[in-house]
């Protein structure tokens, strides 16, 4: 169904790469694939077929791309409820790989790939790395965790297919990460942004100077992060910090990627169809307006996922990108609708706190939000680690920093919350996805 790409040059060169395809051609390819995948899912996924039959929609009703709105949504709970293999749409002997989510909030989610799916995944990862300006000859240190998590192997196969040299170091062991980065001449690193922050600290401790390292790009993803964090990383290290987007439920990393223009993320639309809907009314939102991102896998055989509710909040950028790619972009995802919590009637996202903290001049990237319930009232405390550059010797000086941070948060949230300055390294460092919110509220 998808084009063969034995020659990786054809995948990244503007004259032939799918990223630069003409718009009409892209839409007609999408429609052709949407019709095929709808039929495939209808014929091979019991849950999808039941839902289609309930609403009286048949695969033949998909005549235009807008007709996708006739299809039912897929929720994360659908993947849990059918654990482990309930949504597989091919016989088991065609499934060559399984991955699974960590399952920290319940049963894990299992996802499957055919050989062809793995090829598609490699392809979108090659295109992701190309977005970052990487090519054969680059040395890519892959600090995503290897294993059931899609990040490690996804980036690994993609980097190899790109023709780069892969260092499959996985996450953790920060001292070795820095040593390898220096001694092996790493030019690009894949990691979660929070883990890379930890590496920045570590390198400082080891007396490593970033300008002495050949590292020039970071492919950061697997958790929401802000543009302020990007600037912080770039100023600290002099590398380009690029945002990669993906979900295990869809394929893993490689659904979308920021190019060197760093204005949003290109979505590989020939394989993933995107929509933005109002998270409450489910109504389609026009380009440029924020809503929940909905993704449909257009090529995935082993486990097609139709109209997946990502809970990620973003908007589509319809304007052409300066890089020349014609595939559309979405804005950076800094918020997830299910990350949100409500304090004194105000909706709060962790990313708002991050943006506020990093706006204060003497940047403080290590923070944590602790939620507690006190006499029926939800309380929020932001804990921020003090660093040597903000610590002054006088009470007045420290209190001024406290006030500055507290004001910045109040300004963004519209309410004043508790702020506590804590000693360095008291907030737990994560090797993978950072845990920004500690929820100690009892469900009483």
């Amino acid at each position: 169904m998808h084009a063969q790409w034995n020659d990786r040059e054809s995948l990244v060169h503007p004259s032939s790469a799918p990223d630069y395809i003409r718009e009409e051609q892209l839409r007609s390819l999408q429609l052709q694939r949407l019709r095929a995948i709808t039929r495939h899912a209808y014929e091979n996924q019991a849950l999808f077929r039941e839902r289609m039959d309930e609403t009286g929609v048949s695969p033949d009703d998909i005549q235009t791309l807008e007709d996708i709105r006739k299809l039912p949504f897929t929720q994360k709970t659908d993947l849990r409820d059918t654990y482990p293999y309930g949504l597989f749409a091919v016989p088991m002997n065609e499934v060559v790989r399984l991955h699974a989510s960590s399952g920290t909030t319940g049963k894990p989610i299992v996802v499957a790939y055919t050989n062809e799916d793995i090829e598609v995944w490699k392809e979108v990862m090659v295109r992701s790395f190309a977005c970052a300006g990487l090519h054969s000859g680059d040395i890519i240190q892959n600090a995503y965790g290897y294993g059931l998590f899609t990040g490690g192997l996804g980036a690994h196969y993609g980097a190899e297919a790109l023709g780069a040299t892969v260092i499959p170091i996985s996450g953790g062991n920060s001292e070795r990460q820095i040593m390898v980065m220096r001694d092996f001449g790493t030019t690009a690193i894949c990691a979660t942004p929070s883990y890379f922050l930890h590496l920045i600290e570590y390198a400082e401790k080891m007396g490593i100077k970033w300008e002495d390292l050949p590292l020039r790009a970071g492919i950061f993803g697997a958790e929401p992060w802000t543009d302020e964090m990007r600037k912080y990383i770039e100023e600290k290290t002099g590398i380009k910090a690029l945002d990669i987007y993906g979900l295990s439920e869809i394929i893993g990393p490689g659904v979308g990627m920021a190019c060197e223009q760093q204005e949003g993320l290109h979505i590989f639309e020939d394989h993933f169809m995107i929509e933005i809907v109002d998270p409450v009314t489910d109504e389609a939102m026009p380009d440029g307006e924020e809503g929940e991102l909905i993704i449909t896998t257009l090529s995935k055989k082993a486990m097609p996922v139709m109209r997946y509710r990502t809970h990620d909040i973003t908007s589509i950028i319809a304007e052409k990108c300066g890089c020349g790619r014609t595939i559309r972009r979405i804005n950076r995802i800094a918020r997830r609708s299910d990350d949100m919590f409500i304090i004194r009637g105000v909706n709060v996202f962790p990313s708002q706190v991050e943006a506020a903290l990093l706006k204060v001049e003497e940047t403080l990237p290590h923070y944590q939000i602790v939620l507690t319930r006190d006499g029926g009232m939800d309380q929020m405390e932001v804990q921020v680690e003090v660093t040597a550059n903000v610590f002054t010797d006088t009470v007045r000086g420290v209190e001024a920093v406290h006030k500055q941070l507290s004001d910045a948060i109040a300004h963004i949230l519209g309410i004043r919350v508790k702020l506590k300055l804590v000693e360095p390294n008291t907030i737990e460092r994560s090797m993978g996805k950072a845990k920004r919110v500690i929820d100690n509220r009892q469900n009483d």
Partner: protein, 146 residues
């Protein structure tokens, strides 16, 4: 003529001060004097130690935020009016105290007053021109070792 002081940020939690003291003790660093400023949220510990740089490195390695700062040490007679006389000089020169603490030297009758002024250089000049004995680290350690 300024004296090096070590300032440490302390979170208000049980055992933290003891951990810091244990670290210095284990590394054979003697405290000549110490002062703790506390607020509801945090504390700032100020120390005069035998080896400021070494103490700073030891503390930083264990995750403390420590900074080397400067204070002015003035030696006065340990008798009524000792502090007043210093403050009079500074007030006349238009200088304010940001914080201060004091200790007495065990072998003699003198006290050492440690000051942080808003204008440190001007403060030293004012004191010296009026005949006060401003101690540098050498002079201070001579007196405390004895």
């Amino acid at each position: 003529m300024k004296l090096k002081q070590l300032s440490v940020f302390l979170e208000n939690k049980p055992g933290r001060l003891r951990e810091l003291c244990a670290l210095l003790a284990d590394n054979n660093i003697n405290m000549i004097t110490i002062s703790l400023a506390d607020t509801e949220q945090f504390g700032i510990l100020r120390l005069i130690v035998s080896d400021c740089e070494a103490a700073k490195n030891i503390l930083e390695e264990k995750g403390f935020v420590a900074k080397i700062t400067e204070v002015i040490a003035v030696e006065v007679n340990d008798e009524p009016g000792g502090l007043r006389d210093v403050l009079q000089v500074e007030e006349a020169a238009g200088i304010s105290v940001e914080y201060m603490y004091a200790f007495t030297i065990k072998s003699g009758e003198n006290a050492v007053l440690l000051f942080r002024f808003d204008d440190m250089d001007k403060a030293v000049d004012a004191l010296q021109s009026t005949g006060f004995k401003v101690l540098d680290s050498v002079a201070l350690f001579q007196r405390t070792d004895g």
